[in-house]
Amino acid sequence: MALRQPLPQEEQTSSLNDKQSRQFNKKKPVHPKPKKKKQKWNFKRTWQLHVLVLPAVIVALFFQYAPMGGLIMAFQDYKPWLGFLNSPWVGFQHFKTMFEYDDARQVIWNTLVISLLKIIFQVAVPLMFALLLNEVRKMAFKKSIQTIIYLPHFLSWVILGGILMDMLSPDGGLINQMLGFIGIDPIFFLGDNTWFRPTIIISDIWKETGFNTIVFLAAVTAVNPVLYEAAIMDGANRWKQTLYITIPAMLPIIIVVATLSLGNILNAGFDQIFNLYNPLVYQTGDIIDTYVYRVGLINGDFSYGTAVGLFKSVISFILVVIGYRLAYKYADYRIF
């Protein structure tokens, strides 16, 4: 959720004007200041500000930056009793192993497939919902639908995992009972390699669609009503209006959401997979994060786990940066 919050059209333009006017002011200051000797950091006036950031900086150093330093063990044969300093160096050995192992390659492939499908559906379905909700004229109905479809986002995958395991159980789970009525044999959704991925995708749509709709809904409501009036004058019906006004107007937001989610392509959803999978579906369901947890922490292969994790972090980092660049270039999106 964190990285993809695009902005309504209007604010962009206003902020741009702001910036322009500021630049303009910079060029021609109304009251030229008398030249003072420049104090570079000006600690005397700002030490209090430094003091205020300090605690957060310390915490981030320990818990965000120190682990980044710990990444060196991806190039070592890390032994806990030897520590970072004395463990022997092995260079790129672990990365080589990763590409030679069949299960590691499988894991990377699974991650890509699952998250790509999720990205496609999490752009398309919320977009469709936003467009449909926009056609609802009864505000009370619209508001209550929104309230209800946002709800699953706030429940954790532990809770939803518990509920889903109960409902999807092959012996008498609610879903299989329903399927029984129309004469379908019970399906072991969470233990069958053909069904695991669809189950993951559908349950993800079920949980997150409502929340992801918000962004699109904001964009739909921000479309200038004058455009619709003009279109009505030209005799466009509701469908034509959607096709030629709403969708083109929303294109920037769609681009932003899609490009920014590409940065997450190696995040197929640890919480969800971890709470729903089991050894039966490792073949189609095991993703990089769950694999790192198993080999790194459960099997205690710290260095190999770190190497796989580092591979993921580096690719993600590159993709996120590219994503931001593209979003900035094509949709004028900025994060702060």
Partner: protein
């Protein structure tokens, strides 16, 4: 005029119907689990319960409340939420105030901002983080659950954007002229004005702490230190009782379907209660996050 065409009317009816069904599908699983938890155990075990409880009884809730493992993890979760939110909000608010200044007022603001934003883009990953937290000796303490997540760069940006946009500059300048320092301005002007934003982000943080389970699983070596989400993860999702050291009676209770449903529902309950309050704010929060300088 086009609203009256036949095609549009048919579309409207289908649209309302579709949205209604979608919304119902979103909450049916919760209703189902509630119905199971309120049913007699034989009816639940026989898969007879759909959306209405059969043989209504509060037995499952009785057993859940009577289970000391459950209660202890519930209490641990509550203290985690309180401590986690206080620490996190304290750190983030203090940092967001200086970062909301302009580059001119606070040289070095850019460096600090990038310092935090970089943590959004890149991280050490699971294993190194685990090793650092363990080496700091935080295993089996609440701090292992609180400190690694204390700073959320995204929430911090929301806060600083709020500071930037909703605190009138003139108010601040007037206070400076009256001789106030940064600490006073932060406490007396910024914080009171930003109560809505602080409440929103606190709620987000609370939801995060209530729902997280994975750090409990890896940083707590003793199952008696598990917060509620982690407890449920091991007992209901993993069905792993090895760490629990429970006797046969408790074990039978824990694995009963109605009791599991009751536990799931109790864990979901705070979210269902808090949700209407956050709901009012989070749309605003997201728009806020989108506001740019």
């Amino acid at each position: 005029m086009h609203y009256n065409t036949k095609a549009y009317r048919i579309f409207t009816i289908c649209n309302y119907g579709f949205l209604f069904v979608a919304a119902v599908l979103c909450i049916l699983p919760l209703i189902h689990i509630l119905a199971v938890s309120l049913s007699g155990s034989s009816a639940a075990a026989g898969n007879l319960v759909r959306f209405i409880p059969i043989d209504f009884t509060l037995d499952a809730y009785d057993k859940t409340i009577g289970n000391e493992n459950f209660i202890r993890s519930l209490m641990l979760s509550c203290s985690r939420v309180i401590l986690g939110t206080l620490v996190s909000m304290g750190l983030m608010l203090c940092a967001a105030y200086p970062l909301s200044k302009t580059d001119k007022e606070f040289k070095g603001r850019k460096i600090y901002t990038w310092f935090f934003v970089f943590t959004m883009l890149f991280n050490g990953g699971l294993v190194p983080t685990y090793i650092i937290v363990t080496k700091l000796g935080l295993t089996d303490t609440m701090w292992a659950l609180v400190l690694p997540h204390a700073i959320n760069a995204f929430n911090m940006i929301l806060l600083l954007n709020f500071f930037r946009t909703s605190v009138p500059k003139s108010l601040e300048e007037a206070a400076f002229i009256d001789g106030a320092n940064h600490f006073q301005i932060f406490l007396r002007i910024y914080l009171p004005i930003s109560v809505p934003a602080i409440a929103t982000i606190s709620l987000f943080t609370m939801v995060f702490h209530w729902n997280s389970w994975f750090d409990g699983l890896i940083y707590m070596t003793d199952a008696s230190n598990y917060p509620l989400s982690t407890f449920l993860q091991t007992v209901i999702v993993q069905q792993d009782f090895t760490n629990m050291n429970v006797d046969a009676e408790t074990l039978r209770n824990l694995s009963q379907r109605t009791v599991q449903a009751a536990q799931i529902f109790i864990a979901a309950l705070p979210m269902l209660i808090v949700y209407p309050f956050i709901q009012r704010y989070f749309v605003k929060g997201i728009v806020l996050g989108a506001e740019k300088e």
